[in-house]
Amino acid sequence: MASTAPTRKAMTGKAVTRAPRDTAHEGFLGHRRGRWAKVAGTISIVALLAYLLTDATPRPNGGTWLGYTLGSIGAGMIVWLSLLGVRKRVIGSKPFSLKGWTSAHVYLGLSLIVIGTLHTGFQLGWNVHTLAWALMMIVILSGLWGISLYATLPEKLSANRGEVTQQQMLEAVRTLDRQLDLAAQPLGADDAALVRMSLEECRIAGSLGQRLSGNYHRDGNARALAAIGDKVMAAMRSGRADERLQQIQFLLERKEAALAQARRHIAMKARLELWLYVHVPVTIALLAALFAHVLSVFLYW
């Protein structure tokens, strides 16, 4: 049409266009329909074929041209993969998808099992070179542990907390403590001491041993509940039900339930992070060993 194309000014482009964003509802393992799984798979297969089809003399090792190639790729990947820790903390305003990074991190990291191992030419021994390989394998295995946790725990974490936040869980315990304190005012010294045990000798997270075992039977509240429970039963048997003690028992039971929920929550959150306490320090050790390995190869080979 002849009348078209008058010059367009103002209000074009960026100002009115929303920044592109990823609205696909898929997790990091299936990011972009498994793009990084495919990339990692291809790299592994190519590396394996190259290894099998190359006739290295006298035997495959890290010093052949294939060995150097695999070693360079592997070292580069290790450094890049370790940068995820930086990437997740530097947000900036530029487009990137941390989910994409995680996805690549997982699959490329797994492909390192193939690349790193083929690089060794299966020449393992007690030296700094094998140390680097071993540390790499520990990092990858701890990563697999992490993936399995990420795949199973969030659903349980969500189910346990319902719509309650961690703050509210802790607040609930404190509220019950206040009510216990009030309800204990008219009690005799013995009974009050039991309530005090719940108030003073109960730690929500507990000791390290309790946290690791998940066994809180020795905790102040559990002991107080058991003792008060016995007293309530004894009073019932003697035909003189003690309403004040029953109220205390009821509050202790509620506190026990609130504690259990909070402890499950904390335990699961801890497990979601625990594997990182292996993964990250060993990665740093790996980077050091890798540096020593590369340096020694170039200096002494």
Binding site: A10, V16, R18, A19, R21, H25, F28, H31, P154, R178
Partner: protein, 843 residues
Amino acid sequence: MTAYRIAIVGSGPAGLSAAAHAARLGLSHVLIEKTDHLSDTIYKYQKGKHVMATPSQLVLRSPLDFEAGKREVVLGTWNDQTAAAGVNVKHHAEVKSIVGTGPAIDGSVMKIVTRKRDGSSETRELQRHAPPYRLTLTNGEEIIADTVILAIGTQGNPNLMTCPGGNLPHVQYQLDDPTEYTDEHIFVIGGGDAGIENALGLCADPAQNNSVTLVNRSADFATAKDANVKALLAARDAGRISIMTETTTKAIEPGFITLDTRDGEVRARCDRIIARMGSAPPRGFVEGCGIEFASSDRLAFPKLSATFESTAPGIYVVGALAGYPLIKHCMNQGHDVVEFINGNLDLKPADEPILEAKFAGLPGGRSVADWLEYLRSNVSILQGMSALQMREFMLDSSVKRYAAGDVVFERNAPGSSLFGIADGQVLVEVNPTDPGITVPINAGTIFGEVGLISGRRRGATIRAGSDCILVEISRNAALKLMSQVPSAAREITRITTERSLLQIFKSGLAPADLVDVIAQAKVESIRAGQAIIKEGEAGDDIFIIRSGSMVVEKSIGGKPVFLSYVPAGSFVGEMAVIDGSLRSATVRAAVKSDVIRLAGESFRALLAAKPQLLDKLRGEMANRTRLNNYIESKKDSFSGVVDMYTGVANFLVDQGVGEATDVLLIDEKLCVGCDNCEKACADTHDGLSRLDREAGRTYAHLHVPTSCRHCEHPHCMADCPPNAIHRGPTGEVYIDDTCIGCGNCQRNCPYGVIRMDKVPPKKPWLLSWFLFGNGPGPGEPSHKWAKKADPAYAEKAKKAIKCDMCSGQDGGPACVRACPTGAAIRVSPEQFLSVALMGREGQ
């Protein structure tokens, strides 16, 4: 009896400024204040509150000084300067009535309509009399004045205790400092926010040893904010407070209170009663003075001339009651109105430079007054406005010249403003694929009204057809216009109906084809949950959703199954018109919505004349039938999946997703709780996170965190004194720098996504944290760290902060970008509430 030249009622910023100026000019005056101190509204601010001075570009003309600062400093300055100026203040004086004592003014009779609760109304006629006016005080005293300046604000008077003993000295209607009282038995009457906050304040510190009881008339706390109710119930569970519901006060005597409870009468010890039972707006009193309001709208303001004179000659209205809530505006008006009364009618208002700047770039070299008159006479919807209204209207609007071919706005751009064409012509690109096909809109009329009504994106690109002058009317200004000028409201409604029909049905329709349909069209307001179409019933009307949104449900196997979500700008009900069958599904409102009902009969006639339109509707109908069949077939084989789909859809609609344009969702099957979303939000927004991941509702592991949904018609915008909340160019609702920290938006948001906080100091560089442990690391720094890092932090003022959808950041929402597992997504509801959701639930 004393006679004054000017009586000023109310000693807020406007009244005080007027009185000081009158004193300076040596006019005989009296300032009437009902309490024992000046400026009661600001006096009642909590201790140490930071008072803001916006708009900053406005010059202050008042004889009193005012700059942003602590409440105490502001009040102190005013007190000193009022005394120094020799203002004649009359404390403890409450005006009961203002009546003219001169002869009756011919033909000046005012009709006062009082609406009762049962819906009936009563009309009373009031003959106006000429000045001087007699002001009668509640204590019987009388004051005579030639002119009256009403500056009483909009707070109104608190509702009083009417039971016997309600006037005893230990009954109070205000709690200034909860820490003032110790060892008392205190009853707080009223379960609204004010009552609950007072009661919680009184029992906050157990060391005060108060025994606090909250008395509420009904069984629940329907008018209070959810967070307040929760805090109240928690305080009760903790034993810090007692609550008596379904209880009213029967009698009060020194030391005791008698209450009527559900189980009978109770008499209890009581040292103090704090009554917070709401307040009566001052409208009744103002109308009784002979001052007419612009409309019957609850939010309407009095009709005023350019010199602030009301319909009662000699009574002037300034300040918040005149519609100016900001302190600086009020003070300037106090000055100006005294100038006007003193005969200086040439005085230019203080906003003159602002308006001059608005008109600066335009050709023609007119003065501000000429420009205002030019716009008023050329744009049809503005014609009913007074000069003063035009001035105020222009402050919220802008006017711009466009050269032929310039794009005014683009299709799919968000925007809620309305445009009026003062001169020239614009072209609408009706076909997105071919910009060559256009429809002209001519001078005098408006466009862009769909965005105004529905809050959805622009439906078409509009460009200037010739050189033209357009006035862009912000949503707030447009709403004010519609409430003040009924003819403008009617015209806007007619145009929106016609345009939305043209836009939705397209198919070569012209306005002339729609005359019959529009004549029979009705705009209806539908409350949330109400059905406009019921499955199985007869009926052939078509509905266009103007604002809000609808959900479509079908009963399958005795249970309602969610079929689809219909946003504003769509239509429903076409099936029955085409095939004459009974309604095949139920359509109900997801949120309060407006619909246009088109009569089936007139629509059928239109269809007969326009076969193209019939084809289009048939296509639409085929799509919907396919969807219905698909879901029904799924229901047979995977009934659990469909139930889950319906459950999730209903959950999201209950969470207010129906009025959202963009909502953050977290899949808790993927969320590992790392809070990287919150940290990313804080790190990209001045160190303050705008989302609370853990809080919020969850259904079937789908979590709606506390984060802004960017509602179509944001509740937060409803009552923002400096007008600081806007919808940005990419659809985000954001708060600009002029925020005064009043907290209205926070209280108005039903989803609790706005927080009041102050910006923490800048953190050291990430690497220096990483290597040397400097600073608090990624995420929001603690208040403790902020206080330590910046000594000035504690004194900073809190402002409202909320999600801005990361507008201006190329990467889009930081929370989504920074999620390592893909648990967080930000989507529009129509994107998410589709059949794709069923695929997810099927996994």
